[in-house]
C-alpha cells in the first residue's frame, strides 16, 4: 500500500510510494539556504554576475570521467526495486479504483518505472499517440485501449494533450472512459507539470495520484552509494520486500550491462575541500554530508535530476584517469577536511582545477592529496579487489563543487511562455511549440535557439526541446516568480 506516513519508513529504504500531497521536499542546509537568499537578493538589486553560459566551467586540472566510467560509478537507474514496491502496493489496491496515476517530476524517469513494471507483470504498455492524433481524429487510438479487465499501463499521459483548443479532447475522452470503468484498471504515468495543468481540464481529484517520495539527503546518500557499489547493491541493501522475485529475463534497456558487480572501496571527495562525501565498500562510516543534503535540495528530491547533477560533477585526475589509489586507512578521512586548509598541497590545486577559485583550492584536499597521490603511484593496480601489499586499494573520485545555473539576464515574458509550454508538455518539438505560442513562428524559433545557446533548454534525441536539468531549478523559480502555474513537486 502506498505509504502516507513517514513513520512507516524503513531505514535504508530508498523508494517509497506516497500520495502526491505527501511529497516532502528535502530541505537544504541552513548555510546554503542563506547563501541562496543572499544571492537572490543581489539579483533583485541588479548586482548579478555575468550570466554563465553553462552549468559547469571548463576545468584545467581535473578531467570529466569517460562515459563508460561514469556508467560504472553511477549506473543508470535500476527501476526494478521500485517496480516491485509498486506491485506490492497495487496488490492491496481497492478494486473500485479505476486507475492509479504516478506523477513524475521532470526528468525523474518514472515512465521508465512504469515500463519496467509492465515488463515485470507482462501487462500491455500503451504507446503515446502522436501530436497529430492528439489534435486531430483520436477515435482510433481510444478504440485501441483495452476494454477487458486486464490491467494496462500508459506511461506518458503528458503526451496525450496539447495546450490548444483542439488538444484537450483526447485526454477528456480518456478520463471519461477511465472513470466510467470501461477500460479496466490502468496505471498511468504523468509529468507533474502536466498534472498541475490537467486539473483544470479533467477531474483529477477523482483519481488516485501517487509519486515516489523525494530523495532527501539520507536516501540520496544510500542510493548514490549503491549505484557506486555496482548497481546491484540496492537489491541487497534494501528491505527484504524490495527483493524482486521472479524477475523477467528481459530487463529494461536502461540497466547497465557488463558492469562489474562488486568493486573495491570507492571514495568520493570534494575537489575543493577534500572532504569525504561518500564511501562505498569501505570500512569507513560517514554520515550524510551537507553537500549531499544540498544536492538533494537542489534537485528537489528528484532522482533523475540528482543523478545527472552528480554525474556532471565527478572528476578524475588527468594523469590518473583510473584514479585507483591507496589511501591510508587511518585518520586521513576524518582529518582531511579539517587540515586541508592548512597544508600546502599543489596536488589539491590540480584537483580543484578551474572549477574553483584560487587560494582555497590551492589548499584543498590534500591532506587527502598528499596521502592519496603520493602513495598512488606505487600502488596503482587493477581496479577492484586486487591487493597491493596490506593496504586496501581505494579508488578516489573527485567531486567538483556544485554550481547553480543562473538564467541569463533579460529573460522576459516571451521566454517565460516558451519555458512554461515546454515544462507543461515535458518537451515539445519545434513545430508544435511554434503552433502553441502567440508569437510569430520565426520569433519563437529564434528564442528557442537563444535559450539553447544559454543551455537553459536543449534539443533531445526524440526531437523535443526540454529544459535542462541544470537549469530546471532556476527556470521553476523564474516561472513561479512570474505567477505561472508550477507543479506540486
Amino acid at each position: 500500500m502506498a505509504s502516507s506516513d513517514s513513520e512507516t519508513e524503513q531505514p535504508g529504504l530508498i523508494w517509497e510510494l506516497v500520495a502526491l500531497s505527501d511529497y516532502r521536499l528535502p530541505s537544504a542546509p541552513t548555510a546554503t539556504s542563506a547563501r541562496r537568499g543572499l544571492s537572490s537578493l543581489k539579483r533583485l538589486f541588479g548586482r548579478r554576475q555575468p550570466a554563465r553560459q553553462g552549468p559547469v566551467k571548463s576545468e584545467d586540472e581535473l578531467h570529466r570521467l569517460e562515459p563508460e566510467r561514469l556508467d560504472a560509478i553511477t549506473s543508470p537507474i535500476d527501476w526494478r526495486p521500485a517496480a516491485q514496491l509498486l506491485q506490492e502496493a497495487l496488490e492491496q489496491r481497492s478494486k473500485l479504483d479505476p486507475a492509479w496515476f504516478i506523477i513524475s517530476p521532470p526528468a525523474a524517469g518514472y515512465a521508465d518505472l512504469l515500463e519496467t513494471w509492465a515488463a515485470q507483470q507482462a501487462v500491455a504498455c500503451i504507446s503515446s499517440p502522436s501530436y497529430a492524433i492528439v489534435a486531430g481524429d483520436n477515435s482510433g487510438w481510444l478504440a485501441d485501449l483495452p476494454t477487458d479487465d486486464t490491467p494496462w499501463v500508459l506511461p506518458r499521459l503528458e503526451r496525450c494533450w496539447l495546450r490548444h483548443p483542439a488538444g484537450l479532447g483526447l485526454v477528456r475522452a480518456l478520463f471519461d472512459r477511465l472513470l466510467s470503468g470501461k477500460l479496466g484498471f490502468g496505471l498511468v504515468g504523468c509529468d507533474s507539470w502536466a498534472w498541475a495543468y490537467l486539473r483544470y481540464v479533467v477531474p483529477t481529484q477523482a483519481v488516485r495520484a501517487l509519486t515516489l517520495q523525494a530523495l532527501d539527503g539520507e536516501r540520496l546518500a544510500n542510493w548514490l552509494g549503491q549505484l557506486a557499489a555496482g548497481g546491484s547493491a540496492e537489491l541487497a541493501a534494501g528491505s527484504p520486500t524490495n527483493l524482486p522475485t521472479g524477475l523477467p529475463t528481459s530487463l529494461p534497456t536502461s540497466l547497465p550491462t557488463g558492469l562489474p558487480v562488486a568493486h573495491g572501496p570507492r571514495r568520493f571527495r570534494h575537489a575543493q575541500s577534500g572532504t569525504l562525501l561518500l564511501a562505498v565498500n569501505d570500512d569507513d562510516e560517514i554520515g550524510v554530508t551537507s553537500e549531499l543534503r544540498y544536492l538533494a535540495a537542489q534537485s528537489r528530491g528528484n532522482p533523475g535530476v540528482a543523478l545527472r547533477l552528480w554525474r556532471s560533477r565527478l572528476r578524475s585526475e588527468p594523469d590518473k584517469p583510473e584514479a585507483v589509489e591507496a589511501e591510508a586507512d587511518d585518520e586521513s578521512d576524518a582529518k582531511a577536511s579539517e587540515e586541508s586548509g592548512e597544508e600546502a598541497g599543489g596536488k589539491a590545486t590540480d584537483k580543484a582545477g578551474g572549477k574553483t577559485d584560487g587560494k582555497a583550492v590551492d589548499k584543498a584536499s590534500d591532506k587527502a592529496g598528499d596521502t592519496v597521490g603520493d602513495k598512488a603511484g606505487d600502488e596503482t593496480g587493477d581496479r577492484g579487489g586486487d591487493k597491493a601489499g596490506d593496504k586496501p586499494k581505494v579508488e578516489t573520485i573527485w567531486v567538483a563543487p556544485a554550481v547553480e545555473l543562473e538564467l541569463p539576464s533579460g529573460l522576459d515574458e516571451a521566454e517565460a511562455l516558451i519555458l512554461h509550454a515546454l515544462l507543461l508538455h515535458d518537451g515539445l518539438p519545434t513545430k508544435v511549440v511554434e503552433g502553441l505560442l502567440p508569437h510569430a513562428r520565426f520569433q519563437t524559433h529564434s528564442l528557442l535557439l537563444q535559450l539553447a545557446a544559454a543551455e537553459v533548454i536543449q534539443s533531445e534525441p526524440d526531437g523535443c526541446w526540454r529544459v535542462t536539468v541544470f537549469a530546471y531549478a532556476a527556470v521553476r523559480s523564474f516561472l513561479a516568480g512570474r505567477r505561472f502555474l508550477v507543479d506540486a513537486v
Binding site: 533583485l44 495546450r163 483548443p165 488538444g167 483544470y200 511562455l417 502567440p438 516568480g481 512570474r482 505567477r483
Partner: protein, 272 residues
Amino acid sequence: MDTETINALFRRLDTGALLELTLILVGAVALILLVQKALPWLANRLHGKSRHYLLALVPLLRLIIVIGAFLLAVPTLIEPSLQNMVAIFGSLGLALGFALKDYASSLVAGIVAVGEAPYRNGDWVQIGDTYGEVTYVGMRAVNLVTPDDNLVSIPHAKLWTEPISNANNGSPQLQCTADFYLHPIHDGARVRELLFDVALTSPYLALGEPIAVVAAEQPWGTRYRLRAYPIDARQQFRFATDLTLRAKAELLRQGFRMAAVPARPESAGVSG
C-alpha cells in the same frame, strides 16, 4: 490685523532657525525623491501582488513625509499657540480658496486619493475618456500611460466630479474581454465550449481564475463575450489579442460563420 500683530505671530528667523528649516526642507525633498525613485525601481523587478503593494506605498509615504516635514517646520516659523494657528491657517486657507481654488482642490483630492485609494500605482483605470495604467500618483495629479504609450496627467480634482473605473483595484488580476459575432444559425453550446477551451489554453491565462462566456442575441446575429483573467494585468492587450485570434481561427476551422452586417452608407441614414 496690523503689521505688528502679524509679526508677533511669527518667530524671529535667526540663522539657526533658517538652517533648521533648510535641513527639514532638503531632508523632506530628498526622502520624497528617494521614495519616488527606489520603490518603483524595486517594484518593477517584482511581479504580482508585491509589485502592486510597493507601488501603492509611494504616495502614502510621500504624504507622511510631507506632513512630518510640515509639523517639524511650523513650530520653527510661528509660535505654536492655538490662536496663532487659527489666525495663520485661516488667512492661508482664505487666500488659497480664492486665488488657487482648483489647485487647492486637487491637493485636497490628492490626500483623499491616498486615503480612499480609488487608484494606486499599477492599477488600470478609466477617468473620463482616458484609460491607462497608473504610473504616478502625485500631490496634484495622477499620471496614466495609455495603451498608445501616451502619458496623460489628470488632476485629482476629477475625483469630485468623474466616476473612476478601476479594472484591477490593487491586485494583479484584471478581467479581459474578447467579443465574437456569429451568424445566428449555429450550435451555441458548442461555441461556448470552444470559447472556454480557447481561454483555458491561452498561455497568458491565470489558471484558477474564472472563465465566463456570455451570449446575447442581436438582430444581426449572436454576440459572445469571453471573459478571463491574464496572469499579469500588463498582459491584458496581448491576452485579448490571443483570445480573439485563436478563437476566430478555431471557430472558422470548425465551420462557424461570422455575422456579417452589410455596411450602409452614412448618407442613407441621414436621408432616411
